[in-house]
């Protein structure tokens, strides 16, 4: 690695600060939506998947969270 982590962080920060405010907001919104989609996907698999093995592993959690079960 040619750059130190601190230098890399500086480069990343300077790139971010040079973006116009509107573009930064859009980037922030897109990244937030991506994270939320990932979150819903995880909850969906743990709480709602019809696959037997996932159901059995997460059985008590599904009941305890009042997710529809059985």
């Amino acid at each position: 690695m040619s750059q130190s982590p601190a230098a890399q962080t500086q480069v990343m920060q300077s790139q971010v600060t040079h973006l116009p405010v509107a573009a930064r907001q859009v980037g922030r919104l897109a990244q937030s939506l991506m994270a939320m989609t990932l979150g819903l996907f995880i909850v969906g698999v743990v709480g709602f998947s019809h696959i037997d093995v996932i159901h059995n592993a997460a059985h008590d959690v599904r009941h305890s969270n009042a997710f529809p079960c059985h």
Binding site: T9, L29, A35, L40, V43, S64, A66, P68
Partner: protein
């Protein structure tokens, strides 16, 4: 640090801690009631198997239950509780990602970091959206209590969650009379349509046990959402600091 990384870091840390705490709380609240109900469930299954010819039972099992006899399931005791802890942590991380997404949009728009108190309010909104609203139509159910087909309940549950979150959003963020009225109507709508239910429910799980379970689930969930809202916002305010400075 990019916004996405800040969100993921905060959510994994908050989800992990809250998942572990809630697993401990469940050991005193919901899990003992689930285990008691399973005694009734298993007794009813044995009675059923004894009464019906084996092949009929097999067909019934495949059609009605996800508990296929051949499907893997964790052994009772430590193994089962470890999987419960894992599923709780994953659920915590999943919902934390959702909350953190809102925190990020909010703090991006206002330029102010989210306080733990605002995070707690978002957590309570999650409690209303994901526990109270769907729980009104589909109360938390113990194993061994028959219910309407799974898919129809999952669809109604999702509809209630979407309608309640949209309704609350209209009331909180629009701040106009028509939007507030539309919000309240939207929250009521899935309940006016009604959750899918069986016409005739026959179970030997005592109703007192079912009632205790509703209370236990609701309280456990309140702990889960309060902690998740507070911890996720605190973690996100910490990790998001360099980017907003």
């Amino acid at each position: 640090m990019s916004t996405f990384r800040s969100i993921v870091f905060s959510s994994v840390i908050a989800g992990f801690i809250v998942g572990l705490i809630v697993t401990a709380v469940q050991q005193f609240g919901t899990v003992p009631l689930i285990l008691k109900a399973e005694v009734y469930e298993k007794a009813a299954e044995h009675k059923h198997e004894a009464a019906a010819p084996p092949q009929v039972t097999l067909v019934h099992d495949h059609a009605e239950h996800d508990h296929g006899a051949e499907a893997w399931e964790p052994r009772d005791g430590l193994e089962r509780n470890l999987y419960t802890a894992g599923a709780n942590i994953l659920t915590g991380i999943g919902f934390a990602l959702l909350l953190c997404g809102f925190f990020s949009v909010r703090s991006g728009a206002t330029g102010e970091p989210i306080s733990w108190h605002e995070g707690l309010m978002w957590g309570l909104a999650g409690f209303a959206v994901f526990t109270i609203a769907p729980g009104l139509g589909l109360p938390p159910e113990l194993p061994g209590v028959p219910a309407a087909p799974l898919l129809s309940r999952q669809i109604w549950w999702t509809t209630a969650v979407l309608a309640t979150s949209a309704g609350l959003g209209l009331i909180v963020f629009r701040r106009s009379m028509p939007a507030a009225i539309a919000g309240v109507v939207l929250i009521m709508l899935p309940h006016l349509i009604g959750a899918p239910e069986l016409e005739h429910v026959e179970t030997n799980v005592p109703s007192s046990l079912s009632h205790q379970f509703v209370v236990a689930v609701t309280l456990t969930s309140l702990v889960f959402w309060s902690l998740l809202g507070g911890l996720t916002s605190a973690a996100f305010a910490y990790f998001d600091r360099p980017a907003s400075a």
